[in-house]
Amino acid sequence: MTMFGSNLIMYEEEFDRINAVLSRLWMDANAKLVFLVDKNGQQIAAKGDLDKVDATSLASLTAGNVAATDGLAKLIGEKEFSILFHEGERDNIHISIVGQRLILVLIFDERSSLGLVRLRVRKAAAELEEVLTQMASKAAEQGEAPASPFAEITDEDIDALFTE
């Protein structure tokens, strides 16, 4: 179960569904790496060759990139730029915004193509949006979020974090 935002809670079921969508996208698009980040730069799920990349930095820079591009969009009176594409000599990055709050990132090389990636991403994005909608309606039904695991945290717990 994962929680992001104050009103969106991801349970195991949705997490599994998201992972399944990413796995399929990873295969269908011939991608090296597929991952899902929230707009604040937190990684939610990933599929592919994660060992060769610094996922935390990738997530944070992606979010920064999207935030900056969002700013640009607003400046010229656009709602958002829903797709960003960066072309490299070997690898390319395709970034798209899903359901206004998630970012779907796909890294691919010459074994795939932009056309194929766009096609597959569109389908995957629609499925991810469905999962998001399901999460939102579940949250609405259940009302209150579960108690924080930190409800009982003490000063000693926090101090212990900083003693090295």
Partner: protein, 194 residues
């Protein structure tokens, strides 16, 4: 906005260093980076100009170990301090959990401190936050400079809600971890209320 992942038992919090240009925000981060065990930190990413001025942000992921079985990670960000980068500053405050204001103790920078503090209030508000309630600490940096203003004067000018304050010399690490710890504590306490 903190992110609690129950599946991987991880919690991620975002702390932003704010303050006037050349005040030492990036230096704070660099010191934290240097003094943290390699297994507890990620890469320090600096999006800076050719003259080492922060252009967009610096970013440092920090792993502080476990609280109640949850791996605790802090994502530290700095903003660009220069006035004309305001649009970028606003973006970086998105989803923030705690703020550290790095003030420049030099007399000549007092106006810049006040302007930046005002700007922080404004930009937090634009992102739906209130400086009066968000976890916050105030650092008086550059205490070693001869032109540094007296502590009391700074306190009177810049403290806004009885937040913890720290005297610092960031390149030497004086006050750096103390400030970070003060905000981290407040952030985790906030989580316990949710």
């Amino acid at each position: 906005m903190s992110f609690i992942n129950y599946a991987s038992r991880e919690i991620n919090c975002k702390i932003v260093y704010y303050g006037p240009g050349l005040g030492g925000k990036t230096t704070n981060l660099q010191y934290v980076y240097e003094r943290t065990n390699p297994q507890n930190k990620g890469q320090l990413i600096s999006l800076a100009t050719e003259t080492d001025r922060t252009l967009f942000f610096d970013f440092l992921p920090l792993d502080l170990g476990s609280v109640r079985g949850f791996r605790t990670r802090f994502h530290l960000y700095t903003v660009p301090g220069q006035v004309f980068y305001d649009a970028s500053r606003k973006l970086i405050l998105k989803g923030v959990d705690g703020v550290i204001f790095v003030a420049d103790s030099q007399e000549a920078r007092m106006d810049a401190n006040l302007e930046s503090l005002d700007n922080l209030k404004h930009n937090l508000h634009e992102n739906g936050f209130d400086l009066a309630v968000i976890p916050y600490a105030l650092q008086f940096n550059k205490r070693d400079l001869p032109s540094a203003v007296a502590y009391d004067v700074l306190l009177r000018a810049l403290q806004i809600k009885g937040e913890p304050t720290f005297e610092a010399v960031a390149p030497k690490g004086i006050g750096v971890f103390e400030t970070l710890k003060a905000v981290a504590k407040q952030v985790l306490h906030e989580l316990s209320k949710k």
